[in-house]
Amino acid sequence: MSETSIAPPENMVAVYQRPDALTHVDTHYCPGCTHGIANRLVAEVIDELGVRERTIGVAPVGCSVFVYNYFNFDCAEAAHGRAPAMATGIKRVLTEHVVFTYQGDGDLAAIGMAEILHAAGRGENITTVFINNAIYGMTGGQMAPTTLPGQKTSSSPFGRDVELTGYPMKMAELLAEIDGAAYVVRRSLHNPAEIRKARKALVTAFRAQLAGLGFSMVELLSTCPTNWGMTPEEALKWVKEYMVPIFPLGDYKVGEAVAAMK
């Protein structure tokens, strides 16, 4: 299969199909990895807003390093953590384009901490999609700044010891404190209802950019079945049971102008 169009059965119409903003390339993500859902949601939103032809994405270093093969719009590959700086460079030159970064927890909350804070601080009119799965996936499951206390990873084999390694970084909370940030929310991808809410949040975030309202970020609690050592279904449940209490879902910053948009 994998055709460009599928003929509907008699008397029915297609109500869901592959978004135009996605290519037809099979992804390399592990089975059940929620990157696939997040990529798809971003593409759906880009299609819904009708901005595919003026969107430029900036890919991170991490499992989603090849996201530029899956998105059907112009993309750049950034150095680790530097996507917000690259996006700044692009947006400052192409001010009418839709520019966003797509980053994981190492990229955004470790090596890229300065870049994301300052992009928000400058109120850069870009959108960041932050995939938080409490681990470093691509390099084989090491501890991330977002790893939960007690969580075993390949570089915290005895479980994360908060005495030695501190507590998880809560990026939505942190960025919400910054004046230049217009819209900072945390959602999750662990069940269909939450996925719908995540999609709505992405729409708002990109609309905030289109309206020139400043920096927007949607943090998405995500899974890493492979490195968590679980089935995809178990991983979704783990997000709900263990991640949500530490990373509460909700709206951390909704600027007046963003709220007025609705």
Binding site: M12, V15, Q17, G36
Partner: protein, 88 residues
Amino acid sequence: MAKGTILIDEARCKGCGLCAPVCPKEVIQMATDRRNAKGYRPAQLVDPEGLCTGCAICALICPDVCITVFREPAPSKRSRDRHKAVFA
């Protein structure tokens, strides 16, 4: 008559199993008798009674965008009005 149906791209499916448990009508199953070229056991629609409503919850959770969802279009306003006229 089924109100909806889905088409699963079996070649693309990674057998992750996220779609089957979320289907409200329980008409998706993971195949047990075959694997696709990538070695996964794909999801499949098993809907002999035509229960699928085309709700698209499966497509919502599918990370690999394997599922195309079809649905009967909602009845048109005109036909509803016609009924109204008949029963007025």
